[in-house]
Amino acid sequence: MRKVTCVASDAGGTMTDMFFVDEEGNFVIGKASTTPRDEFIGFWESMKDAAEQWGIDLEKESQKVLPSVEVISYAGTTMMNVLLTRLGDKIGLIVTKGQEDHLMHGRGRQSYAGYSYDDRLHTASHIHEPPLVPRRLVKGVTERVNMFGEIVIPLYEDEARQVVEELLEENVNSIAVSFLYSYLNPENERRMREIAQEVMKGRDREVPILLSSEISPIMREGSRINAVTLQAYGAEPVRKQLLSMEKRLRERGYKYPLQILLSTGGIARITYPRLIEAFFSGPIGGMMGARAISQTVGIPNLVCTDLGGTSFDVGLIIGGEYFYLREVEMGRMLFNIPTVWMDSIGGGTGEYIRIDPVTKRLIVGPESAGAEPGPVCYNMGNTIPTVMDCMLIMGWLNPNYYLGGKLPLHTKLAYDAIKEKLADPLGLDPYEVAEGAVNILSNRTREEVRTRLFARGLSPADFHLLIYGGAGPLLMAEISRGLPFKGIFTVWWAAAFSAFGVAGMDHIHRYNRSTSIYVPHGAGPEEKMRAGEILNEIWEDLEKIANKDLDEEGIPKDQRKFQQVAYLRYFLQLDDVETPSPVNRIKSPEEWDGLINSFEEIYSNVFGEGAKQPEAGYQILEAGLIATAPRVKPALRKRPVSGESPPQKAYKGRRRVFYHGEWHDAKIWEMELLEPGNVVEGMAIIEQPATTLVVPPDRKVRVDEWGFLWMYER
């Protein structure tokens, strides 16, 4: 029997994708519907589907198969549902007195967070989401730390006892604590926890106490309150679900802890204290996969694009690594949780198409038909055309091969809806309108890619474009058109690429600590060395913490790698730049200068030479450490290259396809049967049960030795 060594999942809102890897690094993918009420059901079904590809009946043979699995990891967007549906735990929140209304008024920015451009400008549409904690369960305690981290008002311990009593009286299941500047000085928060524990001991009732200084020790109190609140409100209930999932996997033969993907890009056991980091990890599995490809194949700079039914995600890999955001917007709230940067934009193929009654403009999105009711062609009751309906009538999609034929698509319904709702009112041909709508979507996605590059002062000429997601290969030519990328490619497992990414994860932990360093312009060697010593001390401390964590996880010492970082800015600036230190300790003024040079190089690349202001001096308010260690992962292997002509078995026949205002007689190919070296000339369609690659007349696609599909101009 084949020995499965690694299992990775990506549970989306509608489908749970599974990725099985064997001891030789071979892999297969599985899919099943997500089951939000009990995620394990969908998770297990998806595992069975993947196992089936290798002829394994997991239901019967799990006790033989799962003991050999070294890691099962979980990632998913479904955790976000706890936040979006407000179905979390009953918790209490304790804040610095005078801030009790924070969750009610949030920040003005949260009243339009996540909105489309039109709605951001449309004041009448702004609204705050209901708070995660009812106002009655938010309590204030007198205390205060100032901007220098000094305690100006000590914790009022009587008040602290009183509010804990009140919250316990209300039967809260946990208590979150967030005080001002606790990221600089956590003393008051820690004392608050001790008092809460004393009170609980007296009442013989214990609930977890979570501190913002431990969950999210980063500046900006609003995002920190949100983070610790969500940890208590959502992460702890989710942990219970994950523990139950782990228990059931163990009952079926799995021997190790279940792992989760974190927004920081690492994986961790489900007992990991800052489980909130797993909430935001949904879209980033793909970034992990892209990084694996980047590092294995040797493509340092990648623009990663993930196009699905409801969203379009864009991220960057530069020099084999991705970027981080330290404050993210999720579920219309702000959280200061370090997260691999990937922008999620409305823009999937499920977007509705309408005509603006006033301007007569063709409007694509932003709302999407989602999985229910789905596009018109699903025949599940929707009558408003979507982009996918357009692609179907244009012949891009095969009505009998969607999800391998499991879901038949109704072309006539789609055509009628496009004609009646769009083409007739505009006096245009239905196919012309369909193509226009597809172009608007593809143009928007292309502009998003361009914007992400331009905002950072980068040029497509330095990047390869990797396209994935079920719908990505459909618009492969269009997303890249006019952008001079070095190369454009996708993979046959594009539809389960995020799960692939999760399977390919290394252990990565990030550690940050606040500090306060200022070195003026023209500083002497002593000032530079003083700054260096502060950094060295922090890095040393963080390495101790990292080693302790990695010891607990059983990572051998010789496999550990540490990267020291400093967050540099010109004095007075409010944003900083994550700057990897060229050395692990600063031992001379020249090495300090080396760090400054690294910062200024990154800074001027992004913002331009004219934006530099060294006269202001340099400031560091945070330093960090990135600890990594390798892990078993799917092997990307080269295969022998055969001739340019694809094998006959890959040829599926011909289909009429509408492209650039004309009908073409396109050849249809089966994606998984193409072999390295094969070239497919446009106009052609390359199909796979979960994805479709459109090759326009002016393009051709070549399969390389890794099995990647590269698109070129003919």
Binding site: Q99, H105, V358, T359, A611
Partner: protein, 739 residues
């Protein structure tokens, strides 16, 4: 010395036209045809709609990217924390085309800056070349107040000027007279209004000029922050500049030119269409009242006087979709910082149109074409001298346009678009500080802007307004973070919360207002100065709609020599709610900061400031019509007390200890509401009776002298002939009646 030979150049615009010729051509085509650029048809949009959208998306994406870039470079929390900036594209002759999100009040003002350069022949006299950066913050040229600084970059393609890109950032310190140096009230001439960049060339070759940098360093209290703002602006405008070039490379210059003109004409048509679709033709009226108490201020003796001014507004919606705002009857300007030049009034109108009609990203010159502002000369809103300061012009503009939106809301309501109503946005009592900061830096000045960036919203037509999440001058308000603001000022927040009972009652209530309690920290030298952004003072504006109630008044109180440190040492309660200072703290002196006043003493460590920032916006509809379920929710959320539930909303409620929530007694509520309505009828008097009484007072001039002077100012024939005629008609006054 060798004589230089001047070569007469051709114009820098398309077809060799000069900028002035292009401007005149645009104006002539509009005047002759009624269509922007004479565009009766929109060939690119109609025949190549996809290309049209492609260019739009391309330019718009660049604007968004640019805005984000600026945020990362800036040092001012106003940019990074609450995004008080904007990037925009203009035609070569200065018409607004597209803009990013942000403080869109400035979109139209950028146009006036470019026009200034055109009419002053910068093309030849100053030179407009690729890579030149121009700066402007002079409101006599264009702009609201000096704190708003424009950076402008011309975009050339094959030697032709094809567009302008601008960025505007609000600065928290602008070198004005102290304390604060941003929006001082002790400021009665333009010469104390702050650092001026009078539409000058401040950079070349995409870099700031060294001489400009030196001028900044010599004239501002915080030059590094100001210069980083310029660098942030430069990062933004260069990004858009490059992307325009790329777009022209891809689509061709002709299509780009066609697009920027068609998008303006499209917006003109959309504006007309939206007004016709959503409103009812007719006239809605309101009046702005400004109170200026300057008698006791440390200003030039000949400017020390109190005065009240009104600016009446007739908002006329014409059948052809045009909106006219007639301010006939506006009072005279004065030697204070609350005057507004017409460009500022245009800015206010342009952002109001974005709020109410043009929120699709294409608000531009075209949106403003079917509007007309009638501002009588020699008034608060159209002064006759450029010598006036305008630091606090927002005092007038915020409330004026809040009331304008109130008028438009009434028209929307009449047409059934209740969901579009946003009403009047209240006002704020802000302040700025000067002296020494917590790092020991002196001189120091900063504008206390967190609450300015986000005020309570007025009630909407179909629901309550969110707390602390509305603003007239931007559609994207935000208060930012305490932990960021405190890095910039020597104060500790003891509280930043929503004020109790601050939601203005109504069938739908307003959002709640923010308040702050501060302890002066790590300084012994701090002076507070008021920023009067339309706080309610003695005369309430008509902010409520259809029977809604007004909310709280705004105030700032200063407490000197307090015992707060002792209280902390003894772990006794300290104030975290409004009015608690009076109950909990001992102090030597308490002072109410007048809306146009200054602290009388320096503040130091341990002194307290209590700021109830926001003047209540109005409620919508009769509170007795409020769904009791909403009242219950407000009780559960601690928004109102049971007393208010009963007294104002007529709701009888009780606390359910088991369910841990409030319950409504429906029968008692019905009876109580019935009883209140009958009491109202008993209290009321016939309108005619009220009218007779008031008329008598007018005839006898039985009104305060400040108001007599106010009426005299407004009824001067050159300011308010029509207004005064209507005034006399309404009150049936004799033809020869005067004030």
């Amino acid at each position: 010395m060798e004589a230089r030979t001047e070569v007469k150049r051709r114009g820098i615009c398309e077809g060799g036209l000069t900028l002035k010729e292009l401007r005149e051509k645009s104006d002539r085509l509009l005047q002759e045809t009624g269509y922007y650029w004479g565009l009766k048809e929109l060939p690119l949009k109609e025949k190549e709609p996809i290309t049209y959208e492609l260019i739009f998306t391309r330019l718009f994406s660049a604007l968004i990217a640019a805005r984000e870039k600026a945020k990362a470079v800036a040092a001012s929390p106003l940019v990074r924390e609450v995004a008080e900036h904007l990037t925009a594209i203009y035609t070569p002759e200065g018409d607004a085309v597209l803009q990013s999100t942000g403080i869109q009040v400035h979109t139209y003002i950028g146009q006036r800056t470019i026009e200034w350069m055109i009419y002053n022949n910068y093309e030849e006299e100053v030179g407009i070349n690729p890579g030149d950066i121009f700066g402007c913050n002079d409101n006599a040229i264009a702009g609201m107040h000096p704190a708003d600084v424009f950076d402008l970059l011309p975009v050339f393609y094959d030697g032709e000027l094809v567009a302008w890109v601008t960025n505007v950032i609000m600065e928290p310190e602008i070198g004005a007279i102290g304390p604060g140096g941003c929006m001082p009230v002790a400021n009665t001439e333009r010469f104390t209004d702050g650092f001026r960049v009078c539409c000058e060339k401040i950079g070349t070759d995409y870099k700031l000029r060294k001489d400009f940098e030196w001028r900044v360093r010599f004239q501002l209290r915080n030059p590094d922050m100001f210069l980083l703002s310029r660098r942030a602006a430069l990062a933004a405008i260069k990004t858009v500049h490059d992307e325009i070039i790329n777009a022209i490379d891809e689509f061709g210059l002709d299509k780009f030119r066609q697009f920027i003109r068609e998008v303006i004409e499209e917006s003109r048509r959309e504006q007309i269409s939206r007004v016709k679709t959503r409103t009812v033709p007719g006239r809605a009226r309101n009046v702005f009242v400004g109170e200026y108490y300057l008698k006791d201020l440390p200003i030039l003796p000949y400017h020390r006087m109190d005065m009240i001014r009104i600016v009446p507004m007739d908002v006329i919606i014409q059948e052809d979709g045009k909106i006219v705002i007639d301010c006939d009857g506006a009072g005279a300007w004065g030697w204070h910082s609350m005057n507004v030049y017409p460009m500022g009034m245009e800015g206010g109108l342009s952002i109001s149109l974005v709020h109410m009609f043009a929120y699709d990203g294409k608000a531009n010159r075209g949106t403003m074409i079917p509007t007309e502002l009638r501002l009588p000369r020699d008034t608060l809103v159209n002064p006759t001298t450029i010598a006036l300061p305008t630091a606090n012009c927002w005092s007038t503009v915020l409330s004026f346009y809040g009331l304008f939106m109130h008028c438009i809301s009434r028209s929307l309501y009449s047409r059934g678009f209740r969901e579009e109503i946003i009403g009047h946005g209240g006002g704020m009592h802000l302040w700025e500080i000067g002296g020494k900061d917590q790092y020991g830096r002196e001189p120091y000045g900063f504008f206390m802007s967190d609450a300015a960036c986000c005020e309570q919203g007025s009630a909407m037509g179909i629901r309550d307004s969110p707390d602390v999440a509305q603003e007239v001058y931007t559609t994207e308000p935000d208060m930012g973070s305490i932990e960021v603001w405190e890095l910039t000022y020597p104060l500790l927040y003891l509280a930043r919360n929503c004020a109790e009972e601050s939601a203005s009652p109504g069938r739908f209530r307003s959002g709640r207002a923010a308040y702050g309690i501060y302890m002066v920290h790590k300084t012994d030298k701090l002076l507070v100065s008021a920023i009067p952004l339309s706080p309610r003072r003695k005369i309430l504006p008509n902010a409520c709609m259809y029977g809604g109630y007004p909310g709280l008044n705004a105030y700032v109180n200063l407490y000197y020599d307090t015992n707060i440190k002792e209280l902390i040492e003894q772990k006794k309660p300290i104030p975290t709610k409004l009015y608690e200072i009076l109950k909990l703290v001992k102090f030597r002196k308490m002072e109410v900061l007048k809306p146009t006043g200054m602290g009388s003493e320096l503040m130091k460590e341990g002194d307290l400031i209590e700021a109830n920032y926001q003047a209540g916006s109005g409620g919508f509809g009769d509170p007795l019509d409020r769904d009791p379920w909403r009242v219950k929710k407000d009780l559960d959320d601690l928004v109102i007390s049971p007393e208010i539930a009963k007294k104002v909303y007529g709701v009888e409620c009780y606390w359910d200890e088991n369910a841990r929530e409030w319950r409504i007694d429906e029968e008692k509520t019905r009876q109580l509401r019935q009883q209140y309505k009958q009491e109202r009828l008993r209290r009321g008097i016939p309108t005619k009776e009220w009218w007779r009484k008031e008329r008598k007072r007018i005839l006898n001039k039985d009104i305060p002298s400040l108001l007599v002077e106010m009426y005299q100012s407004s009824s001067a024939p050159h300011r308010g002939e029509r207004w005064f005629k209507e005034f006399k008609e309404f009150w049936a006054l004799p033809e020869d009646f005067t004030f």
